[in-house]
Structures are given as C-alpha cells and as structure tokens.
C-alpha cells in the first residue's frame, strides 16, 4: 500500500560478493518518495556495488530489496528498469558508436509502444541539456566527458524513473561542469524525482541531499540528515577535507 510515509526503496541487510570477496556487508537503507539521498564514502567502500545490486546487474548474496512495497531482490535487471528504477552507471557507459539521439532512444527502450512520450521526453532532455540537442546527430563516443555524463543522465530520464540511481556523476569532471551536473540533479529533485546519489565528492552531494549515508568498507557507518553530516566532526575530517 504505497503512501507518502512508506519508503519507496527499502534495503534490508543486503550483502553482495565478487566471488569470494564480500563487497557489501548487511547494508540497510531507505529512500522515501521525493527524497534525494546521498551515499558517500571513500574509494572502494562499496558504493557502486550497492547501486548495481539494487538495479539488478549484480546479484545479491543476502538480504532483501523492496521497491514500492514489492520485493525485487532477485528480479532480472531489465525487469527492475520496467518497475521504474533507472541507473546512471559509473563512468557514464554511453553507447559510443551510436548517435546521441539513438542513445536517448535506447534509454526509452523500456517505454515500448509509447513513442509519443519518448519523443516528448527527448525534447525535455534537450531543454535540460541544450548542448545535447546541438550534438544530437553526433556519435556519443565523440562527446566530452561532461557531455557524456549529461547524455547518461538524459538517457536514464527516458526510462521514466520513479527512482533515479546516480553513480558518481561528478567523476573526472572540471569544477564548472560538476556544478552544472549538480544543478540539474537538484532541479530534477525539486521537480519531484526521487534520487539516490552516490558520490566521492561528499560535500557537493550532501549540500543538495536531504539525507545521507556514509559507507565504510561495505558497511553503513553513519546515517543522518545531510545537514548534520556536513557539520559532523568525524565526517568533516574523513570526507570533507577539514
């Protein structure tokens, strides 16, 4: 029974392995409808693994994931997309030999038979990122890193996300572009999209987030409202540089 006080995403005691290596240990977290939740943590903390397990490209070895009250722990990745969980993967992963517009069309793959909506949504993505409209016929492999990140986000928006998973959208970008990407993430959030944002750039992430989780070696170390984390002495030392 979805209601505003039930979590949209509920992860309980989730574990995940790469062969014998356990990458995440008993992670529990919740994302409520309309929230922007940030997961911060150092290199190798398991942030990517956590997102990949939620989106189903990686198998969970224990625990459960519920989305809108329905268990999706063992669902195949493409079925999870159909439920409305759209991932912007780490390193963007745009389809290099395809044009910008074909990448966006692929993003709408799950919206089969709703061509009008897809066309309209592509137009909205172009409004959000005018540079993509300018380069719509170019091969996405020829875009700059920032433009590829915009494309990756735009592509995820074509999946009609009820929950948007963002994996380090600021990775490898110049400060100006980072600001631009974060502005868009905030806008999407303000427009009502529920977002789970993974970042090493903890300050930027927590500044736009409602709540945050700090992940350390595969475990949740702290979870608190983002403002508190920004003030927290230990967090400041470990992740904010002072």
């Amino acid at each position: 029974m979805p209601s505003s006080d039930a979590p949209l995403l509920e992860v309980v005691d989730l574990t995940s392995h790469y062969g014998p290596i356990q990458a995440i240990h008993s992670v529990s977290l919740e994302v409520f409808p309309g929230e922007l939740v940030a997961i911060v943590g150092a290199n190798g903390a398991g942030k990517t693994t956590l997102l990949r397990t939620i989106s189903g490209v990686q198998a969970a070895s224990g625990g459960t994931i519920h989305f809108d009250g329905e268990e999706i722990t063992r669902l195949a990745a493409h079925k999870i997309v159909n439920r409305g969980i759209c991932q912007v993967p780490e390193g963007r992963q745009v389809f290099a030999p395809l044009s910008v517009e074909d990448n966006l069309r692929l993003g709408g793959y799950s919206q089969r038979g709703d061509g009008d909506w897809v066309a309209e949504q592509i137009g909205k993505v172009y409004e959000l990122f005018p540079i993509l409209h300018e380069k719509r016929a170019q091969l996405s492999g020829n875009l700059s890193g920032g433009q590829q990140q915009m494309l990756a986000i735009g592509r995820a928006l074509l999946g009609k996300p009820r929950l948007l998973l963002l994996d380090e959208p600021s990775m490898g970008l110049a400060p100006l572009l980072v600001a631009e990407i974060f502005r868009v993430v905030r806008e999407l959030h303000e427009a009502g999209t529920t977002v789970l944002l993974v970042e090493q750039n903890a300050r930027a992430a927590l500044q736009i987030a409602d709540r945050g989780y700090v992940l350390e070696t595969g475990k949740v170390a702290i979870s608190a409202p983002a403002g508190e984390l920004l003030e927290d002495e230990a967090v400041r030392k470990a992740y904010l540089g002072h």
Binding site: S55, G56, V57, A76, A77, H78, V81, N82, C86, Q87, P89, Q93, V94, F95, A96, P97, L98, D102, R105, L106, G107, Y109, S110, R112, R155, A156, G159
Partner: protein, 326 residues
C-alpha cells in the same frame, strides 16, 4: 529514405546484370553462389557485427536446412516446400535450445562452443550414412517449382536467389534502425549498460542468433535444390570460417560490408584459379593485406576513406574561394 538509396542502387545492379550479360558464367552461375553467401554473411553480420558476438559454427545451420530438404524430398518424397518448412522449424528449435546455454559464454569460450557445435553437426552428417549418404553425400535432389513455374535454368535460379538475397538485405537494413537493432548495438557496446536500459540481453542475443540460423537454414534448403546434391564438405568448419571472413572482410556492423565481403570472397578464388597451385597463397596474401591496410574492412574502410577524401577536397576548396571573393 536516404538510408535506402544504396539499397535501390543495389537492386538496380542485381536486376541489370543478367540483362546485360545473360549467358555470362560469372553472373548466372557464380552469381547464384554469391547470392547464397550474401544471405549467410548478412545474417551472420547481425550476430557478429551488430550484437558483437561470435559464431564459428554457422555452416551447421546452413547444412541442417540443406540436409532436411535433401533427406525429406529424396527419401520420403515430401514436397520441397514442406521439407524446407520442417527444416526451418527444426533449426529454429535447435538454435533456440542451444542459444541459452551457449550465449551465456563470451569471447573465446563462445567461439569454442559454436565451433564445437559446428563440428559435431558435421560429424553427424558424415557418420549417419543411412540417412545422409555419409561423406559421399546425396544426389538426385529434385529442383524447385514455384506455383508451377519450374526453377530449371541458371537464369531462373539467379532470379529466385536474387529476390531472397535482396529481401534479406532489406530486412537487415531495417532491423538496424529499429528498436531491436538499437538493443543489439547496445549489447555490443556494454551488456551491463544495455541491461540498465531495460534490454533483456540474453533474449536479445538469443533472438538474433536464432534469426540468423533460420536464414542460414532457408538458404541451405535452396542450395540443396539448386545443386541437386549435398555433401558434408559444403557445411564444414572451413565454410563457417569463410562466412565469418566475409563479414570481417567487408567491415563489421555494416550490412553492405557483409554484402561486399561475400562478393569479394566468392569471386576471388574464381579469378585466382589462373594461378593454379598458388591460388590459396595469393588469396591469403590479399586477405592479410586488406586486414592490415583496412582494418575496418574493405567496404567500411573504402567508404570512410572516400568520405574523408571528399571532405578534405571540399575544405581545401572553400578557403580558396573565400579568399578570391574577399
């Protein structure tokens, strides 16, 4: 549609050739073989070039179609069309069954598995002598009749194969620009990213594998009726490799690349027979040189090279004129 201009030019060429050269051996005899090979290469290109997979056993499906037609028509007196349909159905079922386990594999492992499959099927063709005639093959396969119109001359076969071939090319061109085609190319780019777009990657790969196998089976049946004879060597490991070579030679992920590769690789040995014992040597040298100098493939490499050259010429022209005006 701009994308289909090339196709219409190709249709015109295929239609003109027998009119201009009605009795030319290279047109009506070699041309039919080229037609078979184009279908095989274009079909396999969907799987190799677009989906980024590999199959070293595709001749097996070609052979299954051929043997289904051969056995059912000569030993059981079935109509060729029924035999063709049953062969197609059998290949559809077999390809579907093996596709799931096989397509979980990647790279070398997928190559090995498909190679093994092709070899096993070929061994069956050689060993089950009572059915297939063994290494000597089967003769006396009846010709084909289309609504009472007997396909009984080289020229008529040319027409039939041309139609089948052109349809295959058209279907391939259209698939690539469709939702399914984008999914294929996404799988090629990154299976994980494709999954996060909602693409069922296993199913997508399986579908294109089965589709490609079914087309091979269809031309296999036609091949049996056209040759009136089949034997295992027409479907062995080397044939599988030859089809892959056609795809790679022309340029992967390009329908006309596969067409071009099939034409070149069928014609070259015919032309090189004048070199007698050195034929294979020269063929090998040509193939190696192409891959060294045009690694994107002959067709793709040449069209890209041509486009680049044009652009460079045009760029050189513009500033000169601007200078004259100013």
């Amino acid at each position: 549609m701009k994308r289909l201009h090339g196709f219409f030019a190709f249709v015109a060429l295929v239609a003109m050739l027998p009119v201009l050269f009605p009795d030319n051996y290279f047109v009506t005899v070699v041309g039919v073989t080229i037609g078979f090979n184009i279908v095989l290469a274009v079909a396999l290109n969907l799987f190799i070039g677009y989906a980024g997979q590999i199959s070293l056993g595709h001749a097996a499906f070609f052979g299954m179609g051929a043997y289904a037609s051969a056995i059912l028509t000569t030993r059981y007196g079935w109509s060729p069309w029924l035999a063709m349909g049953v062969g197609l159905l059998a290949v559809y079922i077999i390809a579907t069954l093996i596709s799931r386990p096989i397509l979980k594999l990647k790279g070398h492992y997928l190559a090995m598995a498909t190679l093994g499959f092709g070899i096993i099927v070929n061994i069956i063709m050689v060993q089950t002598v009572d059915w297939t005639g063994g290494p000597d093959g089967m003769s006396g396969i009846p010709g084909l009749e289309i609504f009472g119109w007997a396909v009984d001359s080289d020229l008529r076969w040319y027409g039939v194969i041309a139609v089948v071939m052109l349809l295959t090319v058209l279907v391939s061109l259209n698939i690539i620009d469709s939702r399914a085609g984008r999914a294929l190319r996404a799988v090629h780019g990154s299976e994980i990213a494709a999954q996060t777009m909602g693409v069922d990657t296993v199913r997508t790969k399986s579908q294109v594998f089965v589709f490609s196998a079914c087309l091979a089976s269809l031309v296999g049946s036609l091949f049996a009726h056209q040759q009136n004879f089949v034997s295992p060597v027409s479907f062995d490991f080397f044939v599988s490799i030859e089809i892959v070579t056609m795809v790679v030679l022309g340029g992967m992920a390009s329908t006309f690349g596969a067409v071009f590769g099939a034409i070149v690789l069928t014609l070259l040995p015919q032309v090189l027979v004048v070199f007698d014992d050195y034929e294979i040597l020269i063929l090998g040298a040509i193939l190696v040189s192409i891959m060294i100098f045009l690694p994107q493939g002959l067709f793709v490499g040449m069209t890209q090279g041509g486009a680049n050259l044009l652009r460079r010429l045009r760029n050189r022209e513009t500033p000169a004129r601007a200078g004259a005006d100013g």
